[in-house]
């Protein structure tokens, strides 16, 4: 019997990279929630030079065919590297400030193109930030 999660494990469409174990943690969380971590590749940039970070992302884009780079901080080295890549490769999109809601929307939106899915996911991620205060 086929497994829904397995059937969804097609090629990766997005690369996640950030500080520390940020990417591995987010991809792990996606996997725990829906078993669709195969649509993402999590990268660490610990100990890498800016040039190495850029090379690592470029290599993963080429290897996987992914079209979207998700990074954590707008001020981060990964975002700087990704912006250089987006300048060179118009088919690649960068989404900075990624959170779990963003990635979940992205992996489920498999019928849309990767770039449309990324736009939708970014909107979902923004909307997921809420502040709850005791009234």
């Amino acid at each position: 019997m086929s497994n829904i999660a397995d059937s969804e494990q097609s090629a990766a469409r997005g690369i996640v990279i950030g500080h520390g174990e940020f990417a591995a943690g987010l991809v792990s969380a996606v996997d725990q929630i829906c078993g669709m971590a195969g649509k993402l590749v999590g990268l660490s940039m610990v100990g890498l030079t800016p040039e190495d970070i850029e090379t690592k992302i470029r290599d993963e884009l080429a290897r996987t065919g992914a079209h979207v780079i998700f990074t954590d901080l707008p001020a981060g080295s990964a975002t700087i590297a990704a912006r250089r890549i987006v300048r060179d490769l118009p088919a690649i999109m960068l989404v900075s400030g990624v959170n779990l809601a963003t990635l979940l929307d992205f992996v489920f939106n498999s019928e849309a193109s990767p770039l449309d899915a990324a736009r939708s996911a970014a909107a979902r991620g923004k909307a997921s930030l809420i502040v709850v205060e005791r009234s």
């Binding site: 500080h19 100990g47 890498l48 030079t49 800016p50 001020a75 080295s77 700087i80 912006r83």
Partner: protein
């Protein structure tokens, strides 16, 4: 107000600088000293977009930074000066006698460098440059983030805290 931090960091503007140091120091401006970045409008825009709106960023090549240092140092706001490599900072220090301490924040692995700390890798020539800086009266220490242990240059070169 003197500049709070003179930092060598090959990632230039990134999370550790903007958030890790910028917030506790309440830094309101950054000086990015890099000959290549200063000569490219695209590079400057790239780094400008990485800086939060409450923070100003000034770009300078080493010669300009030497010339403008009195202006940075007399700014009423707190500031951080960053250079991406030891050579640029050494040239800056030679032209600005007021710099008394240097923070090694991130010099990562590349061919010819050996590991000294988790975030500091140096070639023999770079080690020599740092020794010369300290011999000239500049305190050189390593510390990637404010909460981390401050490592004196002698311990850095010995790889004591690796």
């Amino acid at each position: 107000m003197p500049i709070d931090l003179y930092r060598i960091d090959d990632r230039l503007i990134h999370g550790q600088v903007v958030v890790g140091w910028g917030q506790p120091l309440n830094a309101r401006f950054l000086v990015l000293v890099d000959d290549i970045v200063a000569s490219s409008d695209w590079e400057k825009e790239l780094y400008r977009m990485a800086v939060p709106p409450e923070m100003d960023i000034y770009f300078a090549d080493v010669a300009t930074a030497i010339r403008d240092h009195p202006r940075y140092a007399s700014d009423s706001r707190r500031g951080i000066l960053i250079s991406g490599d030891i050579d640029s900072m050494t040239r800056l220090v030679k032209g600005v006698k007021a710099i008394g301490s240097i923070n090694l924040g991130g010099i990562h692995h590349r061919a010819g460098r050996s590991e000294k700390l988790r975030y500091i890798f140096l070639t023999p020539e770079e080690e020599k440059q740092l020794r010369e800086l300290e011999a000239a009266g500049v305190e050189v220490t390593a510390q990637d983030v404010p909460s981390a242990h401050i490592v004196p240059l002698s311990d850095v070169l010995a790889g004591a805290s690796r």
